[in-house]
């Protein structure tokens, strides 16, 4: 498998490290007392930290180009065929501004 890094061009997958699903977004958690949030928030946080879908098909994943430009990438990959449909830089890569939507 080769991944087309948007900065470096196409490289062998040995240069990359896999993190996992890029979909989960960190929920806003307001600490009420000693770091414990409301139960709905706890539920959402538990989901964010532990629960993952086992996708058979198109999936959005984080890959790290550690053997190259050291950028985090978001790769659209089909887990059945390893076909990669898109690769783009994760929010905040380089000195680019972080989009507000990516933070919330």
């Amino acid at each position: 498998m080769r991944i087309a890094c948007p900065f470096c061009g196409e490289r062998e997958n040995g240069e990359f490290t896999y993190l996992g699903d890029a979909k989960p977004q960190r929920p806003a958690m307001v600490a009420l007392d000693a770091g414990v949030g409301a139960s709905g928030e706890q539920e959402a946080f538990y989901d964010y930290v532990y629960l993952r879908d086992n996708v058979a098909g198109e999936m959005s994943e984080y890959w790290y180009h550690g053997g190259g430009c050291r950028s985090w990438l978001v790769v659209q990959r089909n887990t059945m065929t390893h076909e990669i449909s898109s690769v783009k830089a994760a929010a905040g890569t380089g000195a680019a501004a972080v989009k507000a939507s990516a933070r919330s």
């Binding site: 470096c8 040995g14 240069e15 190259g68 430009c69 950028s71 830089a89 000195a95 680019a96 501004a97």
Partner: protein, 211 residues
Amino acid sequence: MAEFVWHAVSPLQHSFTPGRMGETADAAGVRMAEIRNFNLVQIFARRGQWSAVAKAAKAHFGVEAPTRPQAVSGKAGVLLWSGPDQLSALTARRGDEIRPLDALRDRFAGIASLSDQSDGRCLLRISGARARDMLAKVSSVDLDAAVFPVGAAAATAIDHTAANLWREADAADGSPVFKLLVFSSFADSLWDTLVDAAAEYGIEVESPAGL
């Protein structure tokens, strides 16, 4: 109290002696030399400050800062792309000028983070008619002249070791010249790998040179 005097030594000092290695029947197909006495500063632009950093780099080094995988050579040295909105400035070390950040601190204040990597990297020059064949054995980057022209650079991994590889102006005999920048602690092992890869072409190990 005894005073310590620190002497920088090359990580490759025990690895080679200048002269022929590998196949010796014909002229050496690969020439390798260690480049010593350089200063290397990593420049990381802060959020949203890339254009200010590029301007400051141009003012200081006299060449355009690369925004894609390129090595831009100028009188002062080489500006090497090392990641999005990052670059490495490679300059010759004159005399005992071992504090390269002093000259850069004011110019990049507030817009970039600087890190002195001068003694953290080892620099090799690889040239010769078979240099490409040798590198093809250890690198997955396509180094064909059509896609990797003079000035092209790659942040890549060779033998699981992170390395910066770039191409400089061809040698007088028309053969390509590559530079390879690698972490000092991996230089010895990578040197052995390169020697193994080049042995069949014949290697001329040249005396260590300056930048």
